[in-house]
C-alpha cells in the first residue's frame, strides 16, 4: 500500500487516475497473475473511481489477464523477425513438450502458453517472456533446458 501511495503522488492533484495502470500491475502480481472482478473493484475503491473505469482499461491492455493463468506464464513473440528466426518452431515445441495448445494451461496449473506481438527483442530472436524475464536467442535445446528447470523448481512468473 505504501508503494501505491507513492505512485499516486507522482501526478498532480485530481489526476490520481493516472496511477491506474501501475496499480493494476501491482494488483495482478499480488493476486496470482490475473485480475478478477473483485480485484478490479478493489483497485477502483483505492482510486475512488467507478469499477467500469477499471474494467475498460484492464480489458484494453494485453498484459492484463482477465482469466486465471498458470503459475508460470510463457509468452512467445510471433512477429516478423522472431518468425523469420524460427518462433513457430519454438511455439510448436513448447506445445508438444507441455501437451497444451497456445492459450491453454497445463492440467497441474504450472504453465500457461501464450503468443504475443513484438516485444522489442528482434535482434535476439526468437524470444519468449516469462513474467518480466526475457529469454532470448532461443534454440529448441535451450527451451528444453528452461522448461525442465522450471518444472523442477515449480517456477512462478515474477510480475513486479
Amino acid at each position: 500500500m505504501a508503494t501505491v501511495q507513492r505512485i499516486i503522488k507522482r501526478y498532480p492533484e485530481g489526476r490520481e487516475k493516472s496511477a491506474l495502470i501501475p496499480i493494476l500491475h501491482i494488483a495482478q502480481a499480488e493476486f496470482d497473475g490475473w485480475l478478477s472482478p473483485a480485484t478490479m473493484d478493489y483497485v477502483a475503491s483505492i482510486l475512488n473511481i467507478q469499477s467500469i473505469e477499471v474494467y475498460e482499461v484492464a480489458s484494453f491492455y494485453s498484459m492484463f489477464n482477465l482469466n486465471p493463468v498458470g503459475k508460470c506464464l510463457i509468452e512467445v513473440c510471433r512477429t516478423s523477425s522472431c518468425w523469420l528466426m524460427g518462433a513457430e518452431d519454438v511455439v510448436r515445441h513448447i506445445e508438444k513438450k507441455l501437451n497444451i495448445h497456445v492459450g491453454e494451461t497445463t492440467a497441474d496449473g504450472q504453465f500457461t502458453l501464450k503468443t504475443v506481438e513484438c516485444l522489442g527483442s528482434c535482434g535476439t530472436a526468437p524470444m519468449m517472456q516469462v513474467g518480466h524475464e526475457y529469454h532470448e536467442n532461443l534454440t529448441l535445446d535451450k527451451v528444453d533446458e528452461l522448461l525442465n528447470q522450471w518444472k523442477a523448481e515449480g517456477k512462478r512468473s515474477r510480475y513486479c
Binding site: 482499461v57 491492455y61 512477429t79 516478423s80 518468425w83 495448445h101
Partner: protein, 449 residues
C-alpha cells in the same frame, strides 16, 4: 568508423551508474544549459541541429518544440515516448538499458528548454526490467541534486517519473500515449488540438522519442551546427538502427545518416552480410509499417543511384519504388524467406493492435488478416489479391491516427513488389499448404490431412 554521439561510451564498464557516467562527461549538457543558456537558446540549438523525431515520423524536433504554447500559470509537460513497439525496433530498449543516464540527462535539458517542471517517461510494460534500471538511475540523480529543487543552483526545479504501460502498440501514438498516461484506454485523440496546445491533463505538452531526447545531449554540448555537419542534406546527425532478421550480426548500430544501404548490410562494421552468405531478397527498412522493398530497390534507387540510409534517399521514388527510414527497424530477409508469410505476421499484428476506434482500421485489419490466412491455407483466389489491395487503399488516410496507414503500407508494398509470390501461393494452393503455425497460434488442434 562512423562518429558515435549517443553510444560512444556504451562499452565502458559501469556506465549505467551515475559516477562512471559523470566521469565520462555526463550531465555536462544540463550544467551548460542551466548555467549559461536561456531556454530559448537551447531550442534554437536544436532547431539549428536539424534533429528530426527518431520515433518514426521524422518531424523536425526544434519546430515541434517551438509550437509549445506557453500560457501563464499553466504547467507544461515533457513526455518521453519509450513505448517502443514497432516490430523490428529495439534501439530504445538498448539505449535505456545500457545508458539510462543519457536519457535522464536529455530529459532534464529538454525540460529546461521547454519550461517543464515535470516530465514522464512512458515505457512499455514489457520493458519492466528496463523501467527498473531507469528508476534506479533517477534515484541516483535525485541523490546528487541533478533532479529535484534548484538544479545546479540555477533556480530550475524538475521532477521526472517513469510510467509503465501494459502492452498496447497504439500507445506509441502520442495522443494515445497521453490517454494511457491519464489512466485510460489508449484511444488516439482527434487532432487538433495538438499536444503542444492541449496534451497531458489538457496542458501544453511535448512528446518525444527516447532517441530524440538523448540526441539533445550532444546537440547542447557540441552545438547545433556541429550536429548538423554530420549526415547528409536534411538527414543530420546520427541514427540508431535496429538490425534484425537474416544477417550475421543483428544488433543496434549508431550510423551517421547517409551510409550506403549496401555498406550497412554487408560491411563488418554493421550487419556483416547475410546468414550463410545467402542472397538478399527483401528489406523492411524502418519498422513494420514502412513499405517492404526487394533487394534491387533497397540497394539502388529506381534511377540507379546507390540508396543511402537517410530520410530522403530511402524515400526516393515515393511508394512506387521507395520506402521510409521510419524508426530505423531494419528487418532483412534472405532468399529463403516468404514475403507472403512475413506479411501475414504483420497483418495479424495490426489486427491485434488496432484500438478499434475507427471502422476502416478495426474492420479492415481483421479482414486483411483473414484473407492472408486464407491464402497461406491454400484456399486463396486471384481476386483475393485485388481485394487486399482494395481494403488497404480504403484504410489508408481514413483513420484518426497513423496506425491505419501503418497497417495498409506493408500490404500495398508486398503486393506491389511481390505479386508473383502471392500468385504462386494461390496457384499451387494446397500443395504448399503451410498452416501449422496458424493452428498453433490460434490454439486449435491441427487437422490431419
Amino acid at each position: 568508423m562512423g562518429k558515435k554521439l549517443l553510444l560512444e561510451h556504451i562499452d565502458v564498464p559501469g556506465i549505467n551508474t551515475l559516477s562512471v557516467y559523470r566521469q565520462k562527461g555526463g550531465y555536462a549538457s544540463v550544467e551548460k544549459a542551466l548555467k549559461t543558456m536561456t531556454p530559448e537558446a537551447v531550442v534554437e540549438e536544436v532547431k539549428v541541429s536539424g534533429l528530426r523525431g527518431r520515433g518514426g515520423a521524422g518531424f523536425p524536433t526544434g519546430m515541434k518544440w517551438s509550437f509549445l504554447a506557453k500560457p501563464e500559470g499553466v504547467p507544461r509537460y515533457l513526455v518521453c515516448n519509450a513505448d517502443e513497439s514497432e516490430p523490428g525496433t529495439f534501439k530504445d530498449r538498448y539505449l535505456m538499458e545500457k545508458l539510462p543516464h543519457l536519457l535522464i540527462e536529455g530529459m532534464i535539458t529538454a525540460s529546461y528548454a521547454l519550461g517543464a517542471r515535470t516530465s514522464y517517461i512512458y515505457i512499455r510494460g514489457e520493458y519492466f526490467y528496463v523501467a527498473q534500471i531507469l528508476e534506479k538511475a533517477i534515484a541516483e540523480a535525485y541523490e546528487q541534486g541533478l533532479l529535484g529543487k534548484n538544479i545546479f543552483n540555477s533556480g530550475f526545479d524538475h521532477d521526472c517519473y517513469v510510467q509503465v504501460g501494459a502492452g498496447a502498440y497504439i500507445c506509441g501514438e502520442e495522443t494515445a500515449l497521453l490517454e494511457s498516461l491519464e489512466g485510460k484506454r489508449g484511444n488516439p485523440r482527434i487532432k487538433p488540438p495538438f499536444p503542444a496546445i492541449a496534451g497531458l491533463y489538457g496542458c501544453p505538452t511535448v512528446v518525444n522519442n527516447v532517441e530524440t531526447i538523448a540526441a539533445v545531449v550532444p546537440i547542447v554540448n557540441q552545438g547545433g551546427a556541429a550536429y548538423a555537419a554530420i549526415g547528409v542534406g536534411k538527414s543530420t546527425g546520427t541514427k540508431l538502427i535496429s538490425a534484425s532478421g537474416h544477417i550475421k550480426k543483428p544488433g543496434v548500430y549508431e550510423i551517421e545518416l547517409g551510409v550506403p544501404v549496401e555498406e550497412f548490410i554487408y560491411s563488418d562494421e554493421y550487419c556483416g552480410g547475410i546468414i550463410n552468405d545467402r542472397k538478399l531478397k527483401a528489406v523492411v527498412a524502418g519498422g513494420s509499417s514502412v513499405p517492404i522493398l526487394p533487394a534491387d530497390l533497397i540497394l539502388k534507387t529506381a534511377a540507379g543511384e546507390p540508396r543511402l540510409m537517410s530520410y530522403e534517399s530511402l524515400a526516393d521514388g515515393g511508394f512506387a519504388s521507395g520506402t521510409m527510414l521510419g524508426s530505423g527497424g531494419f528487418i532483412v530477409m534472405d532468399e529463403t524467406a516468404s514475403v507472403v508469410k512475413n506479411l501475414y505476421t504483420f497483418t495479424r499484428f495490426y489486427h491485434h493492435e488496432s484500438c478499434g476506434q475507427c471502422s476502416p482500421c478495426r474492420e479492415g485489419t481483421g479482414w486483411m488478416e483473414k484473407i492472408m490466412h486464407k491464402i497461406l491455407d491454400g484456399d486463396g483466389t486471384m481476386s483475393d489479391i485485388d481485394l487486399l489491395w482494395d481494403i488497404q487503399a480504403k484504410i489508408e488516410g481514413k483513420t484518426i491516427c497513423p496506425l491505419g496507414d501503418a497497417a495498409a503500407w506493408p500490404v500495398a508494398s508486398a503486393i506491389r513488389h511481390f505479386r508473383s509470390e502471392f500468385e504462386e501461393y494461390i496457384r499451387k494452393g494446397h500443395s504448399i499448404k503451410d498452416v501449422k503455425h496458424y493452428y498453433s497460434t490460434k490454439g486449435i488442434p491441427e487437422p490431419a490431412y
